[in-house]
């Protein structure tokens, strides 16, 4: 090891550790079409499953006739609820403590619901046979409006008849699921009663869908000889799926191996358990052959987990000067036919109680009522921590509404209400302890970067020109300062179906000084193999290029709760740092033995232990690794590896300041994003290039959601936006240029100070786009208008304000 000539900085650079914009190691295969996704898996004798789905949103299933389908050559089986009932598998538990039909048991509750499962020798035969299954339906009245549903005599969930107690407390009506309350109702109402100013508004965050590039799917393979079930699937939480499969099926957990191969995006859509998984497992157990099921795009949009659909009634109180004194929110949450939200068990509305946002609001109250309707189940965290995007959108709209009421500049209103840097750790009125933040610094930096005053001057001039008939375009400036809560989470209050939300890392150093690490999370595009190797590289001084990261195979990876809610870096990333430090501690003892000094006489120096005061006497990590395996060291076991299961003491609270500048054509409703500035503070930055990529992708999804993407139903409960013709996914053409920026306020409780970033751009982006639309029309009297802001809805605002003559 003759690298004594290199400076410590040069040695650190060579490691490509934390802070390095290292290229993504995954992209070598992805950019060559060499990824290995579920649908790439081909096993001998593999059969294919296809669903027969309900065309009705609410109907009784009178009969299912399989005969014609079974007569098709190559059809192996057609499963219905009747076939699953003897196994107790016609219903399954949901992550939210409810239960859900696997196959229609007497009735259907949403369009696209699974009614029968056809198993055939190839997917063409399966699709043909699915057409031939004859289902006799008797239509029932349809409820698509949650407010109506709470008043209606129509009972959606007859299976719950008479149950006045749900998984989260009392049910007030047969279509009611739960009420969840946080904060101090009486105190908040008192503050509202006494306030100088109260602004009130209904803020609707429409139903949308994560729509990952790869849809959901699985291959179930039961080996009747060994009794082992291997389940490949698009799972964001493979270990949790293994436990759930074991609990549902009764198969012993050691006989189940769950593998998440490459995943083409998840965004929350791939957290839950779907009928397709259960039916494929049953079909494989029954036939003894592997069974593949992959949903198509329309099935994905229609039937697997949606996101949002929150009606948030808000009241915000302030002094005349604009100091906020209280916040009140009542949310009506449309959960669809079954409550299949993916939230930690004690949080039926997720972390919606982060809705006080970045502001020091002394008194607050939040209540959420969950409601059944004839829509698809879900309610997942689409590129956000549990209901955090809803919360951020709510508060960032309420701030704007308050600014209008106070006739104040919305940037200034935010500034005077921010939690101050010296108030952290900050105890929020709705129960959270914010770990760290410096909002004023970020805000000032953002306003300066976009020349906020200049933009306002330009806007004022534009308004004059508009009024003088010289232009038909308005200028909107959309402001957002968001605070997230991610990294679920402390096991003491975060579990899913009783499974604690810790995460894990196991690292093995090989004798020649390279390594393999395995974690309980699973990448769906986040680049774990790149960034987690960087954490290890910095912690133990081996080059990131020499470290393999493996995840997603429950037979080899340590148990963990998976990747969603920006939890990989806060939780699995912490486990990775802690496991690395265990290795370093052992390495120090080995180095001490080799250098014939006391442990305490050594100091860590980038990639080596050196004798204090004698830097020329050292052992590099590579040398230590070799010795760990090949030299008898008294008192030490051979080998160099470590495992950490990390239960975080708190969540992390990333934040950011986003500003959108938008041109709006009042005659057509067309919009054009002229500038989008995104400042993120995610604490310690592991790979700036990956952060930038995450922000670009997340803001693009936010653009889609705010400006057009929705799952819309007609009054019959038909999905109106079931294809990508109508469901908006931006292409390169619609996607604006982004300017990214950052401040760094590390998390004080995280081993490396990192907070997570993947979801920030969605959380901050949606209100920034929506606020830009609102801001453009604010001078003409607009207070609130619902997303998505597609052409006709923007046109409707202009029309309502009398802009079309």
């Amino acid at each position: 090891m003759n690298d004594q000539t290199l400076t410590p900085e040069e040695r650190a650079t060579n490691l490509k550790g934390m802070g390095c914009a290292r290229k993504r190691v995954e992209d070598v295969r992805f950019t060559q079409g060499k990824g290995n996704y579920v649908d790439d898996i081909k096993l001998d004798g593999m059969l294919f499953g296809a669903f027969v789905r309900s065309p009705y949103a609410h109907a009784r299933v009178v009969s299912v006739n399989k005969e014609a389908a079974l007569a098709v050559p190559g059809v192996v089986a057609v499963l219905t609820a009747e076939d699953l009932a003897p196994l107790g598998l016609h219903w399954m538990p949901t992550l939210a403590g409810d239960k859900q039909m696997v196959l229609a048991d007497g009735k259907v509750l949403f369009q696209g619901q699974e009614v029968a499962y056809v198993v055939a020798e190839d997917r063409y035969i399966a699709a043909d046979a699915a057409e031939l299954v004859e289902v006799d339906y008797e239509e029932l009245p349809v409820l698509t409006d949650p407010f109506e549903a709470l008043k209606s005599d129509v009972v959606l969930r007859e299976d719950l008849a008479g149950q006045t107690e749900g998984a989260h407390g009392p049910r007030k009506h047969h279509n009611h699921i739960f009420t969840w309350e946080q904060g101090d109702k009486d105190a908040t109402e008192a503050v509202l009663g006494e306030a100088d100013v109260v602004a009130e508004e209904m803020v609707y965050y429409h139903r949308t869908h994560p729509c990952p590039l790869e849809t959901c799917g699985c291959v179930a393979s039961m080996d009747k000889v060994t009794g082992k079930l291997t389940l490949y699937g698009t799972f964001q939480a493979p270990h949790a799926i293994r436990t759930v499969v074991s609990l549902i099926s009764g198969l012993a957990e050691h006989n189940i191996r769950v593998i998440s191969p490459d995943i083409g995006g998840g965004f929350g859509n791939k957290v839950g358990a779907y009928a397709g998984y259960v039916c494929s497992v049953v079909a494989s157990i029954v036939t003894g052959q592997p069974v593949k099921w992959v949903e198509n795009r329309m099935e994905n949009l229609m039937a697997t987990a949606f996101a949002r659909d929150y009606w948030m009634q808000g009241k915000i109180a302030a002094t005349k000067e604009g100091k906020i004194t209280g916040l009140w929110c009542h949310t009506t949450a449309d959960h669809g036919g079954f409550d299949a939200c993916a939230d930690p068990s004690k949080f039926p509305a997720g972390f919606m109680n982060i809705c006080t946002g970045s502001y020091d609001i002394p008194t607050a109250y939040l209540a959420v009522d969950g409601v059944y309707t004839n829509k698809a189940p879900g309610g997942v965290a689409y590129r956000c921590s549990f209901r955090v995007t809803e919360a951020a959108y709510f508060i960032e709209r309420m701030i704007e509404v308050l600014a209008i009421k106070l006739n104040m500049d919305a940037a200034e209103l935010r500034r005077i209400n921010f939690i101050k840097a010296d108030q952290f750790p900050y105890q929020s009125a709705l129960g959270w302890e914010y770990d760290s933040g410096d909002y004023h610094t970020a805000w000032d930096k953002a306003l300066k970067a976009v020349d906020y005053d200049g933009l306002r001057a330009e806007q004022a001039q534009r308004i004059e020109e508009f009024k003088a008939g010289k232009t038909r375009k308005l200028l909107g400036i959309g402001l957002t300062h968001f605070t997230e809560i991610v990294g679920a989470g402390p096991v003491k209050n975060c579990d899913i179906l009783g499974m604690g939300m810790f995460d894990s890392c196991e690292i093995r150093i090989h004798p020649t000084g390279s390594a393999i690490a395995r974690i309980g999370a699973i990448s769906q595009g986040q680049g774990h193999a790149t960034t987690f190797a960087q954490i290890i590289a910095s912690e133990i001084g081996l080059p990131a290029d020499d470290i393999t990261l493996e995840e997603g195979d429950t037979d080899t990876a340590p148990y963990g709760l998976g990747t969603y809610g920006s939890r990989s870096t806060p939780v699995a990333g912490a486990a990775t740092a802690v496991a690395s430090r265990k290795i370093r501690a052992k390495a120090q003892m080995i180095a001490a033995y080799l250098l014939e000094v006391h442990d305490g006489d050594l100091e860590w120096d980038v990639d080596r232990f050196a004798v204090k005061g004698a830097p020329e006497r050292f052992k590099t990590m590579k040398e230590i690794a070799f010795a760990a395996y090949n030299q008898a060291i008294p008192g030490l076991e051979p080998g160099l590896e470590a495992v950490s299961y990390y239960d975080p003491p708190n969540m992390t609270y990333p934040f950011g300041a986003y500003i959108c500048v938008m041109e709006i054509d009042v005659d057509t409703g067309e919009w054009d994003v002229r500038k989008f500035y995104a400042l993120d503070d995610c604490g310690t930055r592991i790979n700036p290039m990956i952060i930038e990529g995450q922000v670009h992708g997340g803001v693009t999804e936010a653009l889609a959601i705010a400006m057009g993407q929705e799952i819309a139903y007609d009054e019959m409960g038909n999905v109106k936006t079931g294809t990508l013709m109508d469901f908006f996914i931006p292409t390169a053409w619609e996607t604006p240029n982004y300017t990214t920026d950052h401040t760094v306020t590390p998390s004080p409780h995280h081993p490396i100070g990192a907070k997570g970033v993947g979801e920030s751009p969605n959380v901050g982006g949606v209100p920034a786009f929506s606020n830009a639309v609102h801001d453009a029309f604010r001078p003409f009297g607009l207070v609130q208008s619902h997303m998505p802001h597609d052409h006709w809805r923007i046109w409707k605002i202009a029309n309502g304000l009398g802009m079309h003559g």
């Binding site: 997917r123 043909d128 329309m298 013709m725 931006p730 053409w733 052409h791 006709w792 046109w795």
Partner: protein, 277 residues
């Protein structure tokens, strides 16, 4: 997203293609670029026992630029319409419109013949061809005939073409020098059909205006064209608004579509006038 089974045919000339259509009647359908038909087959909204692929028929290809007339083979792709310099020089409107169809991947496959034969009110080429006063050459068991684009469309997916006929060529009179042309289209995103689109030619005391996706057929309006030829833009717009019959869909309600139709038409007229000699 899996179509029902079908028999695949790949004839080498028009006569054999017609023969196959005759043999199988309404069980058979021709396929050109497939970018309207295949999605319908995958949705199982179109099912046929026999698919007759026109890709191997050379007679259906080629662009001919004459002094009076431009002729497009039915199998000319939308991409070729954009990249053919001679065509752009003769009738710039075609390139301008083709650039607003879908995305490059669709345009590499999608053909002009498929676009006009399809009969989908969302397609851009039918309105364009009506504006240009093109005519469609059809070959069938009883020989050849020509139908004016303005007479071709009967209702959504219903055209003057008989089941056993193939659309072989499109003839377009070259607009005189000094005629300004413009195609204006509002859509929600790339790959979307028009919320409203307008094709306009004006100059030398003549005018022609047609609009897309605002009724169950493309709408060419004689009175709107006459009004514009006489220089009366307002009357042209009023006449066109009388002629269209938009329906509500995810792009918006009728009131919005009518408003946008007027905006698109005015913008197209403005641009066409500014290009007129």
């Amino acid at each position: 997203m899996i179509p029902a089974g079908f028999e695949y045919h790949r004839p080498g000339d028009i006569a054999s293609a017609i023969g196959i259509l005759q043999e199988h009647g309404d069980e058979a359908r021709v396929i050109a670029g497939g970018h309207s038909l295949i999605p319908m087959m995958k949705l199982r909204m179109a099912e046929m026992g026999h698919l007759v692929d026109l890709q191997a028929i050379d007679e259906l290809r080629g662009v001919e630029i004459g002094p009076e007339t431009v002729t497009l083979g039915a199998m000319v792709t939308q991409h070729e319409l954009i990249t053919h310099d001679g065509l752009t020089a003769a009738i710039p409107l075609i390139r301008e419109a083709a650039l607003q169809i879908a995305d490059p991947q669709v345009r590499y496959m999608g053909t002009v013949g498929g676009n006009v034969a399809n009969g989908d009110p969302g397609n851009d080429m039918p309105g364009l061809m009506q504006c240009l006063n093109a005519s469609f050459e059809l070959s069938g068991p009883d020989g050849n005939r020509s139908v004016a684009a303005r007479d071709f469309y009967e209702a959504a997916y219903f055209t003057a073409r008989e089941d056993e006929e193939i659309l072989t060529r499109i003839s377009i009179p070259v607009p005189g020098a000094g005629v300004g042309q413009a195609y204006e289209k509002q859509k929600r995103k790339i790959g979307d059909y028009a919320t409203a689109a307008a094709a306009v030619m004006v100059g030398n005391g003549t005018a022609s205006v047609a609009m897309t996706n605002l009724a169950d057929t493309p709408v060419w309006s004689e009175s709107a064209s006459t009004a514009l030829a006489g220089g009366n833009v307002d009357a042209c717009v009023t006449a066109m608004l009388d002629a269209i019959e938009p329906v509500e869909d995810n792009r918006g309600p009728v009131e919005f579509k009518k408003h946008v139709a007027a905006v698109m038409l005015r913008r197209a007229i403005d641009r066409a006038q500014s290009r007129a000699g």
